[in-house]
Every structure is written in structure tokens, then in C-alpha cells.
């Protein structure tokens, strides 16, 4: 990592944010070498201006640096300047080359050709987040007042938001940020920087520094360096410092044994120079007390908010809100989905996915009226919630079924859940002889059957290396086995 420190340092001179407090203006001016190098690469006066524009500090940070860079990268693509991979990597690290994605070649389907169900399906997709989240007004208000107050007062602070997945935590927070940014545009609120990191998107906790720094400047540096620069930024006082709002999603992933990253993230807001507001999001309500160290918990403070799982009424409201005025769903169909999901998890994603699957089923059923009724929803629910263990037992081969019966019989014989292969094999032999008409397979074959059932996880067995001494556990209930085997046509005859 120390090797890389040299290169980004040069880039720092170009950065528009850190330069303010670390280096004074003269330093920036004294690096003409770099500029000339760049101007050689682009070869046009216009671009030098562009770079100068980029270098000159201060503007609302939210989007401008990105925009400038994007136009740069486009330019680079047009002019066929040679790009070896390592040069490209350098450009990616310095943030000059923005990642792009391949465009579609075919023509987009026009919106007109879609029927009601397709439109509904599009609106029901989880990715289509509405501008204002229904049923989360109180939480929205709560976070909004907290952030607005902190931004107005120009002081730092922390907040902890918890709730099970799919209850609208991240969507609400980003909604609040959007509302605040709108306020800034209307000059009702002082400007602020907005950064976000997600614990699950990092390969290790320390990468948080890199991601934060990259969002500030667009450059990728090693984490040690990023950490040092961020320390410098937040520790030293600077005039005209604007508030930074940092959203930390999936906080529990950032907690390692040393907890230095979490400590730093929560310690910076306590510094007067920082003007940093940190909003942390995680799933468990008692995470600060359970996982975090005392000093970290104390810094996290007591401003907490819990998102309750959606009730069936709320879920119903969400789905109807998504559908807008569309007539694609019957009222009772939505109610069934809402009640089923609310009973299990209260996860909005789940409800939307089930609704979406129901529209697909309705679409393929080719009914005359294009409307999702309660039968479609029932089918979708059975597809997405029901388990298939009984079905799997029914579709096993005959000897596999006998093996399952033998294990169940051995469990009832011994009274212990854990059975041994030898006992099971004895039971197997007697059941197979009782059923009749089957050549009783030898131990090798039965071991193969065992590992096959083990791969499906109908039973849990050890490695076959243990041969006839392996332990076997039943992973389905004995009732399931009896039910599945009782209702097959063979058994009833």
C-alpha cells in the first residue's frame, strides 16, 4: 500500500475539496507540471479550460465533479488516444474514466404496446420507488427534523435506524435527503454534502474510508492514505465548511473485532470542526448494546428510530399506491397478499414480488378479462411460500422412499433423533422384504442412496468415508414422510 501513496498525492493537488485546508492556493499553482501533462494528452485549449474549471474549487458538491469527469471520459473515448490497460486503471483510480455499461442495440419497446397487466407489473417492481413512501410519514418527519436541525445548526450528530429488512429504511432516508436537497436548491437551507456507504458493498470494513474519500474527490487511494486524509479533513477547522451528511447502511458489517472503523465514523461527528452528521442503518434494534464497544455505543448516542414491520393494512396501501388508478388487481386479491405477507415477515419486497408473480400468472392464463383475481394470487403464494419437501419425497425412487421410511422407523425404535447407518440398514432390509418384489440392495448401494438424499437435504448425513458407521439425521418431519407416502397411488392400492 505504501507504494501507491506517491501517486495519489499528486492527484490531491488537483482535488477541489481537500486542497482547501491542506494546501494553500500557492501549492495548487505550483503544480503546472501535471496540468501540462494533461493538456498534452488532450491536446486542445478547450480541455485545459475544462480542467481548470474542474480544479477551481467550490460548487455544490453533489453532482458537479462527476459531470465534468463524464464529459472528459467521453472525450477520451472519441479521440483514439492509446489506452493500455494499466493506463486505464490509472484513469479509473484517478476518477477520470467513469464506468459505463453497454447500450442496447434493439429499439426499446414503446410504452403504448403494453397492456394493463404489463404496466402494473412494471409499477410493482421493487426498483420503482415512489417519490413519497406511503405509511412512513412519521418516520420521514422524524428523520427530516433531525437532519434539518443539524444542518441548520451546523453541528454534528449521530442517528441509529433499525428494523427488519424490507421495511423501507433506506428508501425513507434517501427520500429525506432528496427533500432536503430540494430545500437547498430553493435556498431554504444551507448547502450540504451527501455521502453514502453500504457495509455489504465493501470487501472489508476499512474500505469504508476509500469509499468515503472517493465520493468526496472521485479518486481511489489506499485505505491508509484515505484514512489520513479524512482525519485531516474532519479534524482541522476550516472556514466555509459545509455540513456533510453520511449514510452508513448495513452497519453491522462494519463492526470487526477492533471496531476502529465504526469508532472513527462515530467519533468524527463529535469534533467541532467536522460538521458531520452520520445516519446509521442496521437490522437489529439492540446492535449498539450487543456488538459495539462501550465507547462506540456512547458516541452513537440515543437518537434512535425503529421501523416496525408493515401491517396488512399498510401493505395493502403500499400495493394500491403502486398500482395508481390501474384496474389490474381485484381488491380481495391485494388483501390476500397483504395478510399473508404481514403474517410472515411484513416485508414490502415480498408483497410486491408476489403481486408481480400473480400478474405473470394472470398474463399467461389467457383469460379474457385482464385482471388478477384471488386464484392467481393463491397460485403465486403457493409457489413462493410453500415448501416442496412433501413433493420431493413423493418424487423419490421407490428404494429412496423405503430408506426414508427405514430411518423414520429407526428413530421411533431408538427414540433418539440421531440414527446410525447399520441400524437403518437392518430396518431397510426388513421393510424391503416386507414390501416384497424388490431385490434388496447391498450396503454400497444404500450408501449411495443415502448420499443422494443427503445432497437434496432430505436427510443430513456424514461423509461416506465413515462407511457403515455414519450418523444419519432426518431433515424432514416423520409426519411429512407418512403423509407423502400415504397419498401415493401405490400405497392406497
Amino acid at each position: 500500500a505504501t507504494k501507491r501513496v506517491g501517486t495519489p498525492k499528486r492527484n490531491i493537488h488537483m482535488s477541489n475539496i481537500v486542497e482547501e485546508m491542506i494546501f494553500d492556493k500557492q501549492d495548487v499553482l505550483s503544480t503546472p507540471k501535471l496540468k501540462s501533462k494533461r493538456s498534452l494528452a488532450f491536446g486542445k485549449e478547450k480541455d485545459i479550460e475544462k480542467i481548470l474549471l474542474e480544479v477551481t474549487p467550490k460548487k455544490p458538491v453533489e453532482e458537479t465533479p462527476k459531470r465534468v469527469q463524464r464529459s472528459n471520459s467521453k472525450y477520451v473515448k472519441d479521440s483514439e488516444t492509446p489506452k493500455t490497460p494499466s493506463q486505464k486503471l490509472k484513469m479509473i483510480r484517478s476518477g477520470e474514466l467513469t464506468p459505463s455499461f453497454k447500450e442496447r442495440e434493439g429499439i426499446e419497446h414503446s410504452k403504448l404496446s403494453k397492456n394493463d397487466l404489463q404496466l402494473a407489473r412494471e409499477r410493482l417492481h421493487v426498483s420503482v420507488v415512489p417519490l413519497s413512501l406511503p405509511c412512513r410519514e412519521k418516520e420521514f418527519e422524524n428523520i427530516y427534523t433531525f437532519l434539518e436541525g443539524k444542518i441548520n445548526d451546523k453541528c454534528g450528530g449521530c442517528m441509529y435506524i433499525s428494523g427488519v429488512p424490507g421495511t423501507g429504511k433506506t428508501a425513507t432516508v434517501t427520500g429525506v435527503i432528496r427533500a432536503l436537497q430540494k430545500q437547498v436548491q430553493e435556498d431554504m437551507l444551507p448547502a450540504f454534502d451527501y455521502l453514502e456507504i453500504n457495509g455489504m458493498r465493501l470487501t472489508e470494513p476499512r474500505q469504508a474510508y476509500v469509499h468515503i474519500y472517493r465520493q468526496l474527490t472521485g479518486k481511489t487511494v489506499a485505505w491508509e492514505h484515505a484514512h489520513a486524509l479524512l482525519e485531516k479533513r474532519f479534524m482541522t477547522a476550516a472556514p466555509r465548511r459545509i455540513t456533510t451528511v453520511l449514510i452508513v447502511d448495513e452497519l453491522d458489517i462494519l463492526c470487526n473485532r477492533r471496531q476502529d472503523v465504526v469508532y472513527n465514523l462515530l467519533d468524527w461527528p463529535a469534533k467541532t470542526a467536522a460538521c458531520l452528521v452520520v445516519v446509521t442503518i442496521a437490522n437489529t434494534m439492540d446492535l449498539p448494546e450487543r456488538v459495539l464497544m462501550g465507547k462506540v455505543t456512547s458516541r452513537l448516542g440515543l437518537t434512535r428510530l425503529t421501523f416496525q414491520p408493515y401491517t396488512h393494512k399498510q401493505l395493502q396501501e403500499i400495493v394500491t399506491g403502486r398500482l395508481g388508478g390501474s384496474e389490474a388487481f381485484k381488491g380481495e386479491a391485494i388483501q390476500l397478499v397483504a395478510r399473508k405477507v404481514a403474517a410472515v415477515s411484513g416485508d414490502a419486497r415480498r408483497a410486491l414480488d408476489i403481486c408481480r408473480r400473480a400478474t405473470e400468472i394472470a398474463d399467461s392464463s389467457k383469460g379474457k378479462e385482464i385482471c388478477v383475481n384471488i386464484l392467481h394470487v393463491q397460485q403465486a403464494l403457493s409457489e413462493m411460500i410453500a415448501s416442496a419437501k412433501v413433493q420431493a419425497i413423493k418424487r423419490c425412487s421407490r428404494l429412496e422412499q423405503i430408506l426414508l421410511q427405514a430411518i423414520a422407523a429407526e428413530v421411533t425404535r431408538t427414540g433418539v433423533e440421531e440414527t446410525y447407518f447399520m441400524g437403518v440398514y437392518t430396518q431397510f432390509e426388513s421393510i424391503a422384504n416386507f414390501v416384497g418384489g424388490i431385490l434388496v440392495p447391498n450396503t454400497g448401494q444404500v450408501l449411495r442412496l443415502c448420499s443422494k438424499l443427503g445432497a437434496e437435504r432430505l436427510i443430513i448425513c456424514e461423509h461416506t468415508r465413515n462407511d457403515i458407521f455414519q450418523k444419519i439425521l432426518l431433515n424432514v418431519s416423520t409426519d411429512d414422510i407418512h403423509y407423502a407416502l400415504r397419498v401415493t397411488p401405490e400405497a392406497t392400492q
Binding site: 464506468p99 442496447r104 455489504m200 476509500v210 431385490l439 462407511d467
Partner: protein, 457 residues
């Protein structure tokens, strides 16, 4: 005659090739197939993001189903132009680092060059996520196929799965995640936030276990030679595989090509008629039934038929598949391999096995060591006529040989520190197996056979 021999060779080659290298023909399960096809089509055409898990026991044709659906979609120019297929396997991509590199290469992102990826793991992840974030409805769809999905769940923090599922649930580049696994309870392996992001579409693929006639029909189709029209249809489909552009999905390169074969109509008629006649015979049906009782999967049947076809030779009586061959092959399935190993042992080793059996019978499968067995063997050897002057070292070697064959297993807890004569072992054989072996052993002295009946001397 040589003409007939040529034909036979061609038939054998055709059948073998179709059994082994036909990666795209999938039979039955029409609703499941249609379901997946529509899902992929919607991903390609309407830029929807989706996720799906395909679950079924081993050998049921999960990979073949995906291949078949991809082949179907290849006729659709929209699909080829607008999708990137990314193929990952849990056995190859054993951690997120490798998987991420492979994704970067297969998506031809800017930090990949000729199969080499630059930058660290963290940089790669960040770059991939930014690329996906930069995309929207107008960008190409990505179809990610995750084979052995359950192994991806074992990765650290499930970072890759979280990010893939998260992309599929947010307004980014359209992506479709297809997981293939044989574990029924795979959803319980997901972390709760990953589980919440997964759309809970599961498709279960089970073999036809309750219909024996289907099994016989499958046997028939796999052995019969198709007529010219069907061959041509297959050949066209195989030719369309050339359009597949993925470097990782290589099944099109070495696919079986029916276009190469041309059969004389007279000969194919004779062949097919013979198969029909074969299936009418009672013992053939019985043999198939016993195979069906044991293993209902198509993969098992294919291996069986391959062994049948491989026996075809240009000798009189071997040019057709006969019922004797089938019954013989089935009975070879029931051979106990351990008994065969036992029959290959020397008489001394056999004697040791018998004394182990006596010890186990008397002490109800208590573990034993060399000394115990040697004492018991010595009692027999003293009174026997042929075993009197065997040295201890020779017996110890025989004991070690048994141990290396894993007919006896050391008890793991008391390893290393104990001398090898005193190390405790357990017998990995059933009494029935030993009994069988004693009966089948060639030229076992009568003394030994009698001793094996009872431990009293």
C-alpha cells in the same frame, strides 16, 4: 458384410455421441421450461430485473434445462443483441474474488483486458457496482447463471449474492439471476437481508417417479434412431448454437452434431423394430423396473444405456442389443464391491477377518486392536493344519493391508501416540458380507470355512 459393419459402427457412434454430448435436449417439464423462457425473454426485451432459483435433485437436468432455454432464445435476435450471459460455477469460483474477476471478464468491463483483470478485489467490486449503477433500462441485460448456488452462500458475508440481488431490486442495469442447486432448503442458507432481496421465485424440478411407462419410453427414445426429418430438425437447432457468444458457456463447441449422420432407411427400420420387440419381452421390463426402483433420474438411465451400447460389436450375436445383455448388466449393478474385495484377499487375511467377525459377534461390535485379533487367530492357527508356522510380523503386515483397504477403520480419537499393535479399530463390514465372501471364496480350506461358522474350536 463389411457394409453392415460400417453401418453398425455408425449407429454405435451416433448413439454414444447423443448420450454423452447432447447438452441441449430437454424432455418434459413443459410448464417449468416455459416459465424460465418467459422470464429470460422479459429480461431481454422489457429490461425487467428478476431472480430465480431452480431446485431439483442431482441428475434431473437443471443445467440441460437452462441450456435448452438459451438455445430456444437464440432464434430471437433481440435476445442475442441485448443480453450478456455470465456463467459462474460454485465449484470453480470458490470465493467472491475469483467470481468477481470472472464476472468482470465476461462482461468485458473496462478494467479487463484479454482475460486479465486489473486492480484489487475491492476496486473490482466498486467498479462493477458503479458500472451496474451507471446502467439503466437502455443498457444491455445481464443474465447471471450461478451453478451450485448453495456454495455461493458459503462465501464471506455473502457479499456477491447481496450485491447481485440488490442490483436486481433497484433501478440499475437490468439483470436476471438464475441460481441452480440441488439443495431443497437453500433459502435458509441466505442471510436475512439477502433473503429479503431475493424475489422468492423457486422452480422445483423433480423426475417422473410415479410413471414407469415414461421411463420405458425414455429408454426407447434414447436407443432408437430418429428418421431423416427429425435429424434435420435437430441439426438446424445445433447449427443455431453457433450464435452463442459467451466464452464461458462452451457447450456449443463440442455439441453432438446430427448433421453428420445419414442412415440407410432399411437398417434404421430394422434397428427400431428390434428395439420395439425387445421392450415387449418380460425380462427386459423387469430389469428396467429394478433400475427404476433404484434410480429414477435420466442421468442414471443414460449411463446404463451407454454401457449397453458400448457392448455392440461386429461379431455375430453382438450386433444387436439383446435382452441377455440387459439382464446381465442389471445384475452387475447388484454386485457388492466389498465382497469382491474380500474374495481377492489371501487366506491369512481372510482368517483375520473371520476372527474380527468372531470378536465383534461376541462383544457386540466392540473395537479391537491387533493383539486381540492375533490372540484369537493364534488359537485357531495352533490347531489348524495349514496355519501353524506363520510369524507375527507376517500377520501384522496382513492386518495393515486390511487397514489400507479400509475394511477396518481406526477409531479417530486415539490416533498417533499409540503403537500400531495397540491401536483400536472397528470393522467396516456387515456379517452378511463376510458370510457371502466365505461362500464365494475360491479354494478356501475347509478348516477355515468350518471355523467361520462357529468361534468354538
Amino acid at each position: 458384410m463389411s457394409d453392415g459393419a460400417e453401418e453398425l459402427l455408425q449407429i454405435r457412434r451416433f448413439l454414444k455421441e447423443r448420450l454423452q454430448r447432447d447438452y441441449t435436449t430437454f424432455r418434459g417439464h413443459d410448464t417449468e421450461r416455459e416459465n424460465i423462457r418467459q422470464l429470460l425473454q422479459r429480461t431481454a426485451e422489457m429490461a425487467e430485473s428478476n431472480s430465480l432459483l431452480l431446485i431439483g435433485p442431482r441428475g434431473v437436468g437443471k443445467t440441460t434445462l437452462i441450456n435448452a432455454v438459451l438455445t430456444d432464445l437464440l432464434n430471437n435476435p433481440d435476445f442475442i443483441q441485448n443480453t450478456l450471459v455470465v456463467h459462474l460455477n460454485g465449484y470453480l469460483h470458490t470465493d467472491d474474488k475469483l467470481a468477481l474477476k470472472s464476472i468482470t471478464i465476461q462482461m468485458q468491463l473496462e478494467n479487463a483486458c484479454d482475460g486479465k483483470v486489473f486492480g484489487s478485489f475491492a476496486e473490482n467490486l466498486a467498479f462493477l457496482l458503479e458500472c451496474l449503477k451507471a446502467g439503466d433500462k437502455r443498457s444491455k441485460s445481464v443474465v447471471v447463471i450461478l451453478e451450485e448456488f448453495d456454495l455461493f452462500c458459503a462465501h464471506h458475508n455473502q457479499t456477491l449474492l447481496y450485491n447481485l440481488f440488490d442490483v436486481s431490486q433497484s433501478a440499475q442495469a437490468p439483470i436476471c439471476i438464475l441460481g441452480l442447486t440441488c439443495r431443497l432448503d437453500v433459502i435458509e442458507l441466505l442471510e436475512k437481508r439477502v433473503k429479503s432481496r431475493f424475489s422468492h421465485r423457486q422452480i422445483f424440478l423433480f423426475p417422473n417417479a410415479d410413471d414407469f411407462s415414461e421411463f420405458v419410453k425414455l429408454f426407447e427414445t434414447l436407443l432408437k434412431i430418429p428418421n431423416e426429418r427429425e435429424l434435420k430438425k435437430h441439426a438446424e437447432r445445433v447449427a443455431s448454437l453457433k450464435l452463442l457468444q459467451s466464452n464461458q458457456l462452451t457447450f456449443h463447441r463440442n455439441h453432438y452434431d446430427p448433421g453428420k449422420y445419414k442412415f440407410n432407411k432399411r437398417i434404421t427400420d430394422r434397428w427400431n423394430k428390434h428395439i420395439d420387440a425387445l421392450l415387449q419381452q418380460n425380462n427386459v421390463r423387469q430389469a428396467l423396473q429394478s433400475l427404476f426402483d433404484y434410480d429414477v433420474s435420466e442421468a442414471g438411465l443414460k449411463i446404463f444405456i451407454y454401457r449397453l451400447v458400448a457392448q455392440l460389436q461386429n461379431h455375430p450375436g453382438r450386433t444387436q442389443v439383446t435382452s441377455e445383455q440387459i439382464t446381465q448388466l442389471i445384475s452387475s449393478y447388484n454386485n457388492d464391491t466389498k465382497v469382491e474385495i474380500l474374495c481377492g484377499l489371501s487366506i491369512l487375511e481372510m482368517c483375520l477377518i473371520i476372527s474380527m467377525k468372531h470378536h465383534s459377534e461376541i462383544y457386540d461390535r466392540d473395537p479391537f486392536n491387533f493383539e486381540i485379533i492375533y490372540a484369537r487367530f493364534n488359537k485357531f492357527a495352533k490347531v489348524s493344519t495349514g496355519m501353524q508356522n506363520i510369524e507375527r510380523g507376517v500377520v501384522l503386515k496382513a492386518f495393515e493391508h486390511l487397514r489400507n483397504l479400509e475394511l477396518i477403520l481406526p477409531i479417530a480419537s486415539c490416533a498417533s501416540k499409540v503403537q500400531k499393535e495397540f491401536e483400536m479399530h472397528k470393522l467396516a463390514l456387515t456379517y452378511g458380507q463376510i458370510h457371502q465372501a466365505v461362500q464365494r471364496y475360491q479354494v478356501l480350506p475347509t478348516e477355515v470355512t468350518q471355523w467361520s461358522q462357529s468361534s468354538l474350536i
